[in-house]
């Protein structure tokens, strides 16, 4: 579905992404992990058109998407949340989500009422129904993360790219959001998830890609990854205990 082929990105002298190739298949729940500064967000910026790759190609559903501006990438069916939340602060939570429903590839044909009606489900899935009329800028960090997700869900993406959506959430909220993500995935959305919380990745993902200094360190199933010595050294620091795996 998403094919990243020998992609590199340099910022001045820094090789933020160095010859990375990966392939996300339809229906996968794909995890990307890596230490701070490994290049995870940069990789999403390359896929979504916020940055042009220095070299390499990116294809979505068999068609190249590198070089497309972000709104066209979005129209192809790729949705993305931002690690640093980007709410439209002066708009209500509901209006933020409606914006997603109005301007997606199907959105042009929707009336305001139809778009409004589509927002209930995403708001419910992320648990923001009660805050729908609140100003987005007034939400807590956790609330803004949820809003990022609700807003992109309203665009009905085929491929959902999540950049640390769990950051800033409480334990209970994380549990709830994991249930929602599982449901979104079960409903047919392919998910690529960047996450620092290892137990979330282990729980949700069927495939994990480990990025280290912009390069591929390892890929495999969650269990392969956490028992791989290089990953332990570079990223986890020490082998996970049974409790941490759970």
């Amino acid at each position: 579905m998403l094919t990243i082929n020998k992609v590199s990105k340099t910022f001045g002298g820094l090789r933020a992404i160095d010859d990375v190739s990966l392939n996300v298949k339809q229906g996968q729940f794909f995890g990307i992990i890596g230490a701070n500064g490994a290049g995870k967000t940069t990789l999403l910026n390359l896929v979504t058109g916020y940055l042009p790759p220095t070299s390499g190609t990116i294809e979505f559903e068999g068609k190249p998407i590198h070089g497309l501006p972000p709104y066209r990438v979005a129209h192809r069916g790729i949705g993305r949340t931002f690690q640093i939340t980007q709410p439209f602060a002066e708009m209500s939570v509901l209006d933020n989500v409606m914006t997603g429903a109005l301007f997606s590839s199907n959105g042009a044909r929707r009336s305001l009422q139809e778009a409004r009606a589509m927002c209930d489900e995403p708001l419910r899935l992320v648990g923001l129904t009660a805050q729908a009329d609140l100003q987005a800028g007034a939400l807590t960090l956790g609330g803004k993360k949820k809003l990022e997700l609700a807003r992109v869900l309203a665009t009905e993406p085929k491929l959902l790219l999540l950049d640390e959506v769990m950051g800033g959430l409480t334990r209970a909220e994380i549990e709830d959001l994991m249930i929602s993500l599982r449901r979104i995935h079960a409903a047919g959305t392919t998910v690529v998830m960047i996450e620092h919380l290892v137990h979330v990745i282990l729980d949700l993902c069927d495939h994990v890609f480990v990025l280290n200094f912009g390069r591929e360190l390892f890929r495999g199933t969650p269990n392969d990854v956490i028992s791989h010595p290089e990953v332990i050294e570079a990223y986890l620091g020490k082998p996970l205990t049974a409790a941490e795996r759970a």
């Binding site: 916020y50 914006t99 109005l102 301007f103 665009t155």
Partner: protein, 330 residues
């Protein structure tokens, strides 16, 4: 009756008054209504652009262009009143969309300076083409058929009412969502499928057409135009003072602000008429006062007096020209 259900009849009465004054008002009132109507349109035009995060510092560019298209089409082509207005709207629309394409992704202060440069550039062109425009000496309108003072005054009232209706329609459309999203964060809005340039071009075309139409009507009203009148800094300033004073990003703000600005301008002229630039000084002070004490303008102040939360659109206004420069730092 709630304030909301009262709003529509109140506005309808205001519109009716504005449309009746040209025919039945005393000369003072007719003049007052004309100037207020003119500023209402300019303020709505400026506010529309601002609502998409585009702060114009050159609204006189549209105004002046409309004026010149009006006078030149009448003098050189013998165009009647209404046709010269059509020409003014088309010219303003083209200038607006052209500026949108030229400024591309420019935001905040860079965008503002480009609009300022456009206005200055047009003024210089008008000065440098004396054969066409009369140069710095200006030109008088020599229309073959003069529509009459009543028609011109009425036209301005009609344009003002139309501008209010257009602004209201925009606020009830999908554009309202695109504009606010772009104003908040143009880069992030793209990930939801918004193509900013499309909406920028649309709003600048609309806004430019409106402001040029005012210039077109004004030249028939005044009967004279020179580059200093057409591209007057005063137009640029009052076009933005009015919405900021009334309540930026809101529907009623530009209207309330235009009324207040005309009133302020007249009061200043009566009190300090002999002082050159006194009105600009007063506007400057009022602007500072607004930023400090009335950040949501008259509209926000009124709502607060009525014990209501200001509307969401007005709740967090940013008044600096660098509004929403925040590109997504993903």
């Amino acid at each position: 009756m709630s304030t909301r259900s009262l709003a529509i009849p109140v506005w309808a009465v205001c519109a009716l008054v504005l449309l009746l004054v040209p025919a039945y008002g005393s000369p003072t009132f007719v003049d007052l209504a004309f100037r207020t109507a003119s500023l209402i349109v300019l303020a709505i035009s400026w506010n529309l652009m601002a609502s998409a995060g585009l702060i114009s510092l050159g609204h006189s560019a549209f105004f002046g262009l409309g004026g010149y298209v009006g006078i030149l089409s009448a003098n050189l082509l013998g165009a009647p009143f209404w046709l010269s207005l059509v020409g003014a709207v088309i010219a303003g629309t083209l200038l607006g969309s052209g500026l949108a394409l030229i400024t591309g992704r420019m935001r905040g202060i860079y965008f503002a300076i480009t609009t300022l440069a456009a206005s200055e550039g047009l003024r210089v062109i008008a000065v440098m083409l004396p054969d066409l425009t009369g140069g710095a000496k200006g030109a008088y309108l020599k229309a073959a058929t003069f529509p009459g003072v009543l028609a011109i005054n009425l036209a301005m009232s009609l344009v003002a009412v139309a501008a209010c209706i257009i602004a209201w329609m925009v606020s009830r459309s999908r554009f309202h969502y695109a504009f606010r999203a772009m104003r908040a964060n143009e880069a992030a809005s793209q990930m939801l499928g918004i193509f900013p340039l499309k909406y920028r071009t649309a709003i600048m075309a609309l806004s430019g057409g409106m402001a040029s139409l005012v210039g077109g009507v004004e030249v028939w009203h005044g009967g004279y135009l020179d580059p200093a009148v057409a591209f007057d800094l005063h137009i640029t300033i009052t076009s933005q003072i009015a919405p900021i004073l009334g309540g930026i990003y809101t529907l009623s703000g530009p209207i309330l602000g235009a009324i207040a600005t005309v009133f302020l301008g007249d009061a200043t002229r009566i009190a300090l008429g002999h002082l050159q630039g006194a009105s600009l000084l007063v506007f400057g002070l009022v602007l500072v006062f607004c930023v400090l004490y009335l950040p949501q303008g008259i509209q926000g102040g009124l709502l607060r007096m009525l014990g209501k939360r200001p509307s969401e659109a007005a709740a967090e206004p940013k008044l600096s020209p660098t509004v929403a420069t925040g590109a997504a730092k993903p």
